[in-house]
Symmetry: D3
Subunit: 158 residues, 6 copies
């Protein structure tokens, strides 16, 4: 199966979506950051009641979603109609879930992926003085809806 971002001679291009219909499209992604107990405690403590840690990561994720087409060379600029970024503490760190939506001729997986990634990197940045061995894992698409190919869910999410 061919990569759609390459033309017949293997040159990169921005895929022509002129003929695609503008329908509502949505994507949900997730990712994890694993860290030491000390770093996790510092973030969790920072969260309630006073902290700015996850608030900063949320804002960073939302703002980054809007920058997706500046970061990913072949992504189309598109009018995002919604972005959300949510956090939950896990046993060894934080889980981030982001959703993005648009009404346009192409999907928003990359916008949701970029939101999750940037939120995770922001947490990493804020905790790296405490733990240099943190690890970002499990970044993936959970589901998408809209577009010609119809809805899709990650196999273990069905």
């Amino acid at each position: 199966m061919a990569l759609t971002h390459l033309d017949d001679s293997g040159k990169a291009r921005m895929v022509d979506i002129s003929a695609k219909s503008a329908t509502k499209r949505q994507a949900v992604c997730e990712g994890f950051i694993r860290m030491s107990a000390g770093a996790r405690t510092a973030i969790a403590a920072g969260e309630v009641p006073k902290g700015d840690v996850l608030a900063a990561a949320r804002i960073a994720g939302i703002m980054a979603a809007k920058k997706t087409s500046e970061l990913i060379p072949l992504c189309h600029p598109l009018p995002l109609t919604s972005v959300t970024v949510d956090f939950s503490m896990t046993d060894d760190g934080v889980r981030v879930e982001a959703s993005a939506a648009t009404t346009f001729g192409t999907g928003v997986e990359m916008e949701a992926m970029t939101a999750v990634t940037t939120a995770l990197l922001t947490i990493y940045d804020m905790a790296k003085a405490v733990d240099k061995a943190m690890r970002i894992d499990g970044l993936r698409l959970l589901s998408k809806t809209g577009g010609k190919s119809g809805p899709w869910r990650a196999p273990d999410e069905c």
Copy 2:
């Protein structure tokens, strides 16, 4: 141990580095993208002899390193003196390694992390028509040098 990006009342701030000395600082990071055999083949085939896939991901990673302080709220803008992004095919996908360097009053871990991340997201974008279940894993710092805290290596890298 406290998070340095929060002040005493838990408010986010850009840490004051005025008093830090401008020394040469370097960081190396890695990350992986795991994918189906079909997607891996399409990328590997695209790489030699004609393709733009990894070339696009490399450029995206280098350009994103320069945008780090626009993406990560509390990162300082800094004069990057070097950025490299390298790829190797793994059994189930691609490994990305990036390095960044500066002569400044703060480290460049986030720049190297952002380069790896964006290169991985670019590969993801270019292969997602072939495989929607790809997964980005193992994003982490391998080593850093320079600065008051001295050199650091990931435990399993020593």
Copy 3:
């Protein structure tokens, strides 16, 4: 009355406008910069016949309107169809009025506000060598049209 940019648990989000209809929307804002007689004279003299002061401020305001969604975290990116920035000399400085328009599912108040603000900051920047005690005042929305809530005018403008 609740803030629409926060969800039920107080977390920031980009409001979902997927279901809103794309209608023509317009907004007009104003703001003032007050300064010493010397600074005011330098700017007024610069304006006619040769100067670039207000021309630079106008361009800065128009370009900033296009950056609104990069600056204001929860603003939607939107396709601006028109931006104007106008100046008039007042007794103690300059008045800036800006308008913005779009055909989209959300309003353009923030785009007009950002245009006025950045034009004022540009004047401030260009005159600050002459007067460090300048003051920006009276930044507000004058009117908006379009959208479900219908037209609105500032009370003293009706």
Copy 4:
């Protein structure tokens, strides 16, 4: 007294600072947003214990300070070493104070002004569904230190 951002024929230019020495420079600015009691209550309530309102405005202000040279045409890009943004509730709204610092050949007033302004615009954005008649006032420089011209304080601050 001439405007330094115009050359002898009135053309805009970026002032040449090659010959200026890189010394530590700092600036502090303030600004106010005035609003209805309802909007003020919604923000204050949002702040404690759960809210993201002022956290979002703080992050927006810090990130905007880093964008100053992209917004203000004749500002030099400079390596910010510190940015802080603080809020206090006033009788009729919110006061924002921001500081910026660098070690460079030119001052950071515009960076601090841009931080205050963008934080205020972010509050405006988040409260505008509740109150369309808000007003931003009293944006000004409180003090600056460093550079050839020496320290300066707003007259009523001395």
Copy 5:
């Protein structure tokens, strides 16, 4: 004939396109870079089989097309649906051809021009260590389609 980007008093403005219909619009542009035989050989050699030179220039051109409205003060931001950048070696350098497309109320000539220009500047950057006397020439619009004024072709292209 008047310049549409100036109002009646000669002030710059973003032309109001609210009333224009969103139709498919396309533009094709070309440009040349002329260089020494040595620089030309280095680039051509770099291209096949291993090189990143033209791949980098292609990505840079595509990404710059998306930044057009940030660079050209009075350009409208618009949803690009397609961008392509192609190269051919000439006797004394490289020819770049770029196309852009959108479905919107204004044309995409500037997007195609910006893609060509930035691709040429990227080649210039990568070859300037070998040849400082390179020259960029012949940047122009080849054809445009869509919009009220109908199709247009450069005279010598008809």
Copy 6:
């Protein structure tokens, strides 16, 4: 002679300038836009006494110089200390000359080239309703000073 932006295997990289000394560096570039008599008259008329055409192009050129490292993939971000953009009317259009300066470990040719280019594209944008057959020509480096390789002048400028 090898291209410095490619490593031994032809992969793009940001050249490591850590070991280069920060000296004052300057570059001057020029470029031309050729147009119909009608377009030339409209711009010249717009310039004196009231117009914004060349003022807009000047601001665009200065602001673009600051964006050089965002546009040209392998350019280092650097602290520009000066940028100027000047215009003169020619028989068949406009000549643009731009200079850039920094005190850093690498040159500023690309910053001056980007300033000239963007100023020319801005003129193009503002005059394209009058003349679609305009042509940008003769973009080149006139001189550079500073750095290990010493001063350089275009052969016909010596």
